[in-house]
Amino acid sequence: MPDLSINFAGIKSPNPFWLASAPPTNSGYQVMKAFDAGWGGAVWKTLGVPVVNVSSRYGGVNYRDKRLVGFNNIELISDRPLSHNLREIEEVKKRFPNHAVIASLMVQSRQEWHDIVRASQDAGADGFELNFGCPHGMCERGMGSAVGQEPKVLQMIVEWVMEVAQKPVIVKLTPNISDITEPAMAARRGGADAISLINTIQSIVGVDLDKYAPYPIVDGKGTNGGYCGPAVKPIALNMVKNCAQHPDVRLPISGIGGIENWRDAVEHILLGASSVQVCTAAMHFGFGIIREMTAGLEQYMVEKGFNTIYDFVGKALPNVLHWEDLNMKYKVTANINEDKCIGCQLCYTACEDGAHQAIKLNAGTRVPEIIEENCVGCNLCSLVCPVEQCITMEQTDSGTEHLTWKERTEAGTAPTEFEDEKAGGRHHWVPEPSAALGKERHKTLPGKARLYSGETEVPAGA
């Protein structure tokens, strides 16, 4: 049996799955229920000077038949009295001494930071997470992402906290910034023990077409909120990777953003996270999802022969290069498996309108044909094909050549001027613009009163 337990910057947890600071960790009741269900840790809903929330406060992005592929909120930090939260933290720790309880904090002055760190330390918290990420409401008061966006301020606050903290300190970063490694490095300079990312992304999830207001709507009005859920995972993964690869960050990373199942978690871990946090998925499906997550992670580790989480933290990082270091001699070409093809011709339109006109249709069959000379191996057709393994990208280069953009630049064989013959596009086949006109099959399909012609059947009286 693989060992799922972690020691994250000194915070011990029976598994790497933590509930992120959010509504699911709003109370002792919820956190105990979650630990009972199998979660390894919980970052308490952010403590600070009490606030008042509005209603409604959540917005969703539904895609076709899927609900909440994206989620946003305009909620603030905990709106419960600090003393209630602290008493409950104490009780949770009493009953679950081996689980991780992390106090998320957000206040303004040095004195306030000192007070709240000491108070939550006394309540028994295993560590702190400094919320420098909230992109709405709090930032307007100079907290949350307003701090996350100012590395100098961030560093100063971390230093204040370190003056009193006797437990590990995690800095939670905002993605609302152009280079995530800058606040990450500031956190390190300030003496933080770890970072966690990402907090929510400033967003408007939609606009009501009848009320002319953004969601969520509060008495006919709305404001920008923080975006999260499955849709933000790609952004989170990239930011986790950036921090993990940066030589001056070198802090343990708690990965957050779009984690809904064990696969999402493994992806975060492969890119450098060593604990993961979950919010939207727990809000959507409840604490019970942890069973699938731990079971899946365990199964993955058994199959790969990993004994501990640390066996694969950052394992994908060596394969994430800069664009200029990719091998330009590597070539793939699309290949259609005729037996699997169902003739939807989505690949044809995608390539014709959205790529390189490298697929053609032949009379008498609905199976399209790849025009190999024109195929640049972009992958689009295989991405749109609805049949598993029907379009595969087959390697067509010799496999012996290797040349990168950097090498070309260094060798002086990279194009440098606008009309340069060395530009890659020159040798791709492109039809003359006028050939686009009058293509009967590209015109909008019948719809309006397509005439019924008895051509296919022999009309009785004709």
């Binding site: 099959r441 019948p446 719809g447 009309p459």
Partner: protein, 441 residues
């Protein structure tokens, strides 16, 4: 024993004849429409006789534009709601859906179609209207799918249209013939009312055109006459005993059923003669009316039946038994039907041959003849110069619908010899344009 108990109330009738394709709710429509791939040059469109832009309307449903979806459907097919429920989608649009090739359930195109159009009908939204009055008039005989579709299209082209219908309700066999588990009377008539309110044609009910004088009157008063008269009564078999009480034609039996529901009596043991879709309907319907035993008797082998496979499966599913390679020779009984005397047959070189001495009597108390509908040749012969082919079908140009009497145009069952609602609707639309081309010359 019977699978269905005899319905004695409207509610029990509705249970026994529960809709095979109930109208979807919003969630169902959202989920189902999500699956459509939006195929290029979509095969489903080609398989629909009326050429509805299916991926387009499905995408409109998916994006919450149900009204736009209804418009897309009606632009191609005025019986959009009915067709969604009564079309043999298994062999038309849904049969062509590419998902079949992936062994995945095809998109439920018919139900999505009814979903969008039902919403439009219920909302009463004005989606269409008549075109600018062009001062010309067309008479339409028959308010079936062909006649009503022609009327709608002619109105958009600016004609004044008077429809003459023998019966008391519009939509022809859609309300007098199609099985009640495919569509309800309310649904059919709601679509008819919607179309009439959108296009504003006149319908004269209980107004059969039956004499030369009446035709002459129309010829004088109108610029063109559209024949959408469909087919006639059930064919006579010419068997001894065919006049016995409880020996009835399928078309007549079903018309009764559609109008009077559970008040229609069925025998305990019913024999349905025939192997077409109407025979399957009549057998299913008898069973759902509580008949204890329903036998479907066909003179050739099972595989040679004209009915769609899914229609036979449907009948089998409600307990109908097949009896194949038998030909009826006599309806027995004393005043009332008591049985059918059959002779066994075999097919040799494609021809049915009777096996001498193999006669037997299958007892029953009701016989339903589903042996095809007669043509209305007597009526059609009143039209000067109108030519019929050797099967009694009106001869007309496949694209314009014009008959050999230039003033007369035809579509639907009377022209094609009997097909589906969707064919009648599609042909009539085309013919209305043929009329327009002719009168615009």
């Amino acid at each position: 024993m019977a699978e269905f108990s005899t319905p004695t109330t409207e509610q029990q009738f509705a249970e026994n004849f529960a809709q095979l394709k109930p109208v979807m709710n919003r969630t169902e429509a959202l989920y189902e429409s999500s699956r459509c791939l939006f195929c290029f040059d979509a095969p489903c469109i080609k398989a629909c006789p009326s050429g509805i832009d299916i991926p387009q309307f499905i995408r409109q449903i998916n994006s919450g534009n149900d009204t736009g979806a209804a418009r897309t459907i009606y632009e191609a097919n005025y019986f959009g709601n009915a067709c969604g429920k009564v079309c043999p989608t298994e062999v038309l649009c849904e049969g062509a859906c590419v998902y079949n090739l992936q062994e995945v359930k095809p998109i439920e195109i018919g139900r999505l179609q009814s979903y969008a159009t039902t919403k439009a009908i219920k909302s009463g939204k004005k989606l269409f209207g008549p075109g600018e009055d062009n001062g010309k008039k067309v008479a339409v005989i028959g308010a079936g799918p062909a006649g009503i579709s022609a009327a709608c299209e002619l109105r958009t082209l600016g004609y004044e249209v008077d429809v003459f219908e023998a019966k008391a309700q519009p939509s022809g066999l859609t309300v007098y013939g199609v099985a009640p588990y495919k569509i309800t009377n309310e649904e059919t008539l709601a679509e008819m009312a919607y179309l009439q309110s959108q296009f504003g044609y006149n319908v004269h009910f209980n107004s059969a055109i039956s004499s030369r004088d009446e035709l002459a009157g129309l010829e004088n008063k109108y610029d063109a006459i559209f024949l959408g008269i469909g087919l006639g009564k059930t064919n006579e078999l010419g068997l001894p005993g065919e006049d016995k009480i409880n020996c009835t034609g399928a078309v007549e039996f079903i018309a009764e059923l559609r109008q009077h529901h559970h008040e229609v009596a069925v025998g305990r043991k019913v024999i349905v003669l025939g192997g077409g879709n109407t025979a399957m309907d009549a057998a299913s319907e008898s069973s759902r009316l509580g008949a204890e035993n329903v036998i479907l008797a066909y003179r050739r082998a099972k595989e040679e039946m004209g009915a769609y496979e899914f229609e036979y499966d449907l009948a089998k599913g409600v307990g109908v038994k097949g009896l194949f390679n038998v030909a009826p020779v006599e309806i027995t009984g004393n005043g009332y039907v008591a049985g059918v005397k059959f002779i066994r047959t075999e097919t040799k070189d494609g021809r049915v041959q009777e096996i001498a001495g193999s006669e037997f009597i299958e007892p029953c108390d009701m016989v339903i003849k589903a042996t095809g509908q007669a043509k209305q040749t007597e009526f059609l012969n009143l039209i000067p110069g109108l030519k019929l082919d050797n099967k009694g079908r009106i001869i007309a140009n496949a694209h314009t619908g014009q008959t050999s009497n230039p003033k007369y145009f035809a579509s639907g069952d009377a022209w094609n010899g009997g097909a589906e609602v969707v064919n009648a609707a599609a042909e009539a639309k085309l013919t209305a344009r043929g009329i327009h081309a002719y009168l615009s010359k």
